[in-house]
């Protein structure tokens, strides 16, 4: 059990710069402010006496911040002994938080980053990742740890849930300017998380191949023209930009798809019939899709397609340039 006693503490005795046990991230919840304003502090914060006479915050950083904002001082607090080890203090802070709420991804990153200073990797992964509802994996642990150095606007968005932590993972190896360029781009246009991941990969690969930074690509005239076409709905602009970037990354496949679309149109397939190439034109299996209302209609369409299949232009569709 923890060795602690109750004291009345002046808030100017709290070391606000000591964040060694701080694992909360994000704005103060309005309801917490309202609660303290209305009924006062219900649960005592937990502090630890330091050798310089100040107090380190262990649990209740947000309650203390609200009290400080509201000018409530002194406060009745629980105080841990000076001899409590740093890892025990930090572990106490973590367990106190996870018992009350689900931590946001930035807070999970804080937990893993701070605990990594006290535990070896297997201990960290086995004890703390399940506690954070994360799969116990070294790779995932490293990805979470790499979130913390990201820029404040990106961390804020991840904490708020407006940017998925998976995007933080893929942005973390990039340069600061490139990260912020992607962040602004994703804030501006509605892409799903998996498409955001795909776009980071696509843009980075175009940049490596053509010797541009991702920021230069996202700020290029071709992309900007679409980004700024505000008369079009955001979803449409997002789709067009994605298509344009994909075409730039995979020019051969795009050219083949365009040729296929052109030649299929010229072929004049009957209505209700669709010719489908193999995925990525890989392999010999082409498909035909028929939509029909009855046997007679199907027979008509089949005859029509059979006639088309004998034509040279049908064969040409399946050949390379």
């Amino acid at each position: 059990m923890l060795d602690k006693e109750s004291y009345s503490i002046q808030l100017d005795e709290v070391d606000w710069n000591d964040t060694s046990c701080l694992i909360t991230y994000g704005p103060l919840p309005d309801k917490l402010i309202l609660s303290i304003q209305t009924v006062g502090l219900i649960h005592k914060p937990l502090l630890q006496r330091k050798s310089d006479g100040l107090f380190r915050i262990i649990c209740g950083s947000r309650r203390l911040a609200v009290c400080r904002q509201l000018g409530l001082s002194p406060l009745s607090c629980e105080v841990l002994s000076i001899s409590t080890s740093p890892v025990t203090s930090l572990r106490t802070a973590i367990y106190d938080n996870i018992a009350q709420r689900v931590l946001n991804p930035v807070e999970k990153s804080l937990v893993l980053t701070k605990m990594a200073k006290h535990l070896n990797q297997p201990q960290l992964v086995q004890e703390f990742m399940p506690l954070l509802d994360l799969e116990p994996s070294d790779t995932l642990c490293s990805r979470y740890v790499q979130l913390l150095p990201l820029e404040a606007p990106i961390l804020d968005a991840i904490a708020e849930g407006t940017l998925h932590e998976r995007i933080g993972f893929v942005l973390s190896p990039l340069e600061r300017g490139d990260r912020l360029a992607f962040f602004n781009f994703f804030q501006e246009l509605p892409f799903s998380v998996s498409v955001q991941e795909e776009l980071v990969e696509t843009v980075v690969e175009i940049g490596q191949r053509d010797n541009f930074t991702p920021r230069q690509i996202l700020d290029s005239a071709e992309v900007n023209d679409l980004r700024r076409a505000h008369k079009r709905p955001a979803r449409q602009r997002a789709q067009q930009i994605r298509k344009q970037l994909q075409a730039r990354r995979t020019p051969r496949l795009t050219a083949r798809q365009e040729r296929f679309a052109r030649e299929t149109k010229d072929l004049g397939l009957p209505p209700g019939v669709r010719l489908i190439p193999p995925p990525y034109f890989e392999g010999p299996k082409w498909s035909l899709e028929f939509t029909f209302a009855g046997a007679e209609e199907l027979a008509i369409r089949l005859r029509s397609v059979a006639r088309l299949a004998e034509q040279a232009k049908f064969q040409r569709i399946m050949e390379r340039e």
Partner: protein, 362 residues
């Protein structure tokens, strides 16, 4: 570049094996750790440890082809894993987590399994290689493995050993009585690709020089343009390789040449990006193939195969050229026929394997 480990980690159980005795004799002073069992992912800075272990599984297995593409029916004699040549595209980076080269020292068990395997189907033609999970000749100067394998295969009329390498370490092959049952094969790429992507391997000149020496000793040789890499100027690059190849070796003594463009499991992409951030091999566009591997877009593959095929046949029309892991439609477009029209790929290569050509001295 000769492989030389900084430390040996040897399982006590194989301490008396000929391979261990040989390496201890050829590398005096090399630090040795004697252990009961080498763990699966043993440490070793940059793969500098050579692990010598007893292998407890099947030494001989079919090549892991897929049903989606034409497989050549090759069989793998697995005597070790990992490689120290450091090719950027190497699939072994994804297969094995430990960077250390691992040698299976219970060669007697391997030879026994191999004998049983050959006896089980005596009428079958066996094309067997040791270069799937490591380079066939990487360790040869240290362990003299070829001194065991080449004579064994010399006594097998229906089995061929293919030693696939990117080294020029062929000295030991000179005096062996191989009886035409061992083929020595090199993977080839343009010099600029070798310098950039195969930095630890022998140069093109060294590989072709070694091939020439092997031909001089009566060995049949083979070449694998695999992986073929698309890069600005690839046509000129591969044309130069072909020209240099045929100025070095007698084309009549080439048993086969394979072509295969770069392909890899998607998991390898991240490994390559992390280990070799400056490589340009990932610049080309890739699509998922029928087997899930990422490949060049098929039109580019066909273009590269057709170009190489024309170039090679333009110099010597009787070459046996085949595609590694490609579909019938790619064969037809690139070569004008499919393997089945010639009895199947496996039969095509079996016929070549049994051909009794012995090259003239050059």
């Amino acid at each position: 570049m000769m492989y030389f480990p900084q430390r040996l980690v040897i399982e006590k159980e194989v301490g008396d094996s000929p391979l261990v005795k040989r390496i201890l004799a050829t590398s005096p002073g090399l630090p040795v750790d004697w252990v009961d069992r080498v763990p699966e992912n043993a440490d070793g800075e940059n793969g500098s440890f050579l692990e010598i272990v007893k292998f407890r599984g099947r030494f001989i297995k079919p090549c892991p082809g897929t049903r989606f593409y034409n497989c050549c029916g090759y069989q793998i004699l697995n005597l070790g894993i990992q490689c120290s040549l450091g090719c950027t595209y190497c699939i072994l980076q994804a297969y094995f987590t430990s960077p250390n080269v691992r040698l299976f020292a219970n060669l007697d068990d391997a030879i026994q399994q191999l004998t049983e395997h050959l006896n089980d189907s005596p009428d079958h033609i066996h094309r067997i290689g040791t270069g799937e999970f490591t380079d066939s000749l990487l360790l040869d100067p240290l362990i003299h493995l070829s001194e065991h394998l080449v004579p064994f295969f010399a006594a097998q009329p229906r089995a061929i050993l293919e030693l696939k390498t990117k080294t020029a370490q062929v000295d030991l092959l000179e005096k062996m009585d191989h009886r035409g049952q061992t083929i020595v094969a090199w993977s080839l790429n343009p010099s600029e690709v070798i310098a950039r992507e195969e930095a630890g391997a022998a140069t093109l000149e060294e590989r072709l020089g070694a091939a020439k020496r092997c031909q001089g000793w009566g060995y049949r040789v083979a070449f694998h343009f695999d992986p073929l890499l698309a890069y600005p100027g690839w046509r000129k690059g591969y044309q130069e390789v072909v020209e240099r190849l045929f100025s070095a070796v007698d084309p009549g003594g080439i048993v086969w040449i394979s072509l295969g463009t770069l392909r890899f499991m998607p998991t390898l992409k991240t490994v390559i990006q992390q280990r070799y951030p400056n490589t340009s091999i990932l610049d080309e566009e890739f699509v998922p193939g029928l087997d899930g591997k990422l490949r060049y877009f098929r039109d580019l593959r066909v273009e590269m195969y057709a170009y190489l095929n024309e170039l090679l046949l333009g110099i010597h029309k009787d070459l046996c050229i085949y595609l590694c892991m490609e579909s019938d439609d790619v064969w037809r477009e690139a070569f004008g026929y499919t393997p089945v029209e010639r009895g199947g790929l496996s039969a095509m290569l079996d016929r070549r394997a049994l051909s009794s050509f012995v090259p003239a001295s050059i």
